[in-house]
Symmetry: C2
């Protein structure tokens, strides 16, 4: 399918992948720490880490004491808008039955960031019906 969405879903369209990327953005970098945080089966985690490394989203490094670490590459960090958009949608539409959740804030001011929104080329905020898809001819 010649569609960027489909292509992206081929790479990260699987629940564990995005949760691994979220944890990596929080500073998690070791296999056992991902495993503890996510409660995912070790063989599944191993497969996902391998796939994300293969796609250049994570970089695998060997640290002192022969310890393996996984860190987000720029391509991986570029997925933050996807994660944030999903997070904000969940904040709005899925009740937080277990109480307060993680909030993403501006590092300087400490204020919550704007919910992920659509903007025109000049940075003006647009509504969802202010845009249209232009299909290739």
């Amino acid at each position: 399918m010649n569609c960027s969405l489909a292509q992206t879903l081929n790479i990260v369209g699987e629940r564990w992948s995005l949760l691994i990327i979220r944890d990596a953005s929080f500073g998690v970098c070791r296999f056992d720490d991902f495993q503890k945080s996510l409660g995912v089966a070790r063989n599944m985690l191993s497969m996902r880490l391998k796939q994300l490394t293969l796609h250049g989203i994570l970089e695998k490094t060997i640290e002192e004491g022969n310890r393996t670490e996984y860190h987000l590459t720029q391509k991986g960090w570029d997925l933050m808008p996807v994660l944030l958009a999903m997070t904000h949608w969940g904040d709005k539409h899925v009740p937080a039955e277990k109480g307060e959740r993680v909030v993403f804030v501006d590092r300087d001011s400490g204020r919550p960031i704007e919910p992920m929104s659509i903007h025109d080329a000049d940075g003006k905020r647009l509504g969802v019906h202010d845009i249209r898809a232009r299909f290739p001819k």
Copy 2:
């Protein structure tokens, strides 16, 4: 997992769901048209449409001639930032080997919208390292 991302992934964290939502945003509303557009197995499509309706992302209506249609609700339209963020990431990071792709443009000016980005509460654009997660106490 008390995390909005995980909650969202529980609902739309499956490749077909997001592709169905994309098609619905393009105006596709009938079962056969979704099927033709996506090339998905009919039982899988049926299952996904049912699930999306159950979650209030699609609304099922019965039209003249007893024809069933599926339309995005506001909750469904609110997923556009997720779709756009994935689309823009694919535009940037997955080569378009099959040529030009869909471009999302401002309906008024016809100009491509800004790639989905992070903004502070005042609308100022932030980099991915300008934000941090504030965890519940």
